[in-house]
């Protein structure tokens, strides 16, 4: 008998905001920090904390740059982040199939 699919769930995505941030980034090429904050209806410090944590795990790219003279931070998924998110969704799908 194989492992229960819950063992395939990524503990990094159990926090609701991290889950939503990963889902957001999975749907876009990249997104500005401000757009992500507004879309997820959260605050700068909260988003900053979670995006930094995911960056530290190598799952999210955080690129700081400028548009004109205005600083702009852009978020995107790394290849590892895409794979980890796909695996997490696959584990959830497996759980839905358990009778």
């Amino acid at each position: 008998m194989g492992d229960h699919p819950r063992t395939q769930l990524n503990p990094a995505f159990t926090n609701p905001l991290r889950f939503s941030l990963m889902a957001t980034l999975a749907g876009v090429t990249e997104i500005t920090f401000q757009d992500a904050r507004d879309y997820l209806q959260t605050t700068d410090p909260t988003l900053s904390k979670h995006s930094s944590a995911l960056e530290g795990m190598g799952l999210v790219n955080v690129k700081k740059g400028f548009v004109g003279k205005r600083p702009q931070t852009r978020l995107s998924l790394t290849k590892e982040g895409q794979a980890a998110w796909r695996d997490h969704l696959a584990a959830l799908r497996s759980i839905t199939e358990i009778p």
Partner: protein, 146 residues
């Protein structure tokens, strides 16, 4: 970590799907692409007409070039003001720009040998490229992320 049951897992999957799908919007860069294709179509027909009637070719280059100029200068502004684009936009854009470059090369290099029918065919090809680019983006947006 609390283990989700089947119902919780379904709810999370639905939430992930909706969040991913709604995060992206239509990129205004495709309006610039439309302008580039309009310029290509105008130039193709204009040059073919000039070739077959011995009319001057300058008006065709100017009329088409104006649209192409608008398309090129608007790309940066369109990209910065657009909502986040659907994952895969870079690939879609590169392929469609490659198609435009091929069509434009044919128009610029071979226009001296164009019949009017060939000019119209090239214009139709530019129109098809514009339509494919826009439809491809809309389909990607509707389809969401699996």
């Amino acid at each position: 970590m609390n283990t989700p049951n089947a119902h919780d897992a379904r709810t999370l999957l639905d939430r992930a799907e909706a969040t991913s799908r709604q995060a992206a919007g239509f990129s205004f860069a495709w309006l610039s692409y439309l302008a580039l294709c309009a310029g290509g179509a105008i130039t193709s027909v204009g040059l073919a007409y000039a070739t077959t009637t011995d009319a001057p070719v300058l008006p065709a280059w100017l009329a088409g070039g104006l649209w192409i100029f608008v398309g090129i200068v608007s790309i940066a502004a369109a990209t910065t003001t657009s909502p986040p684009s659907r994952r895969g936009f870079g690939s879609r854009w590169t392929i469609m720009m490659a198609a435009w470059v091929i069509l434009w090369t044919i128009t610029s290099v071979f226009n001296a040998h164009f019949t009017l029918g060939q000019g119209v065919a090239m214009a139709a090809a530019f129109l098809a490229a514009a339509a494919i680019g826009l439809v491809w983006e809309v389909v990607a947006l509707k389809k969401g992320v699996k």
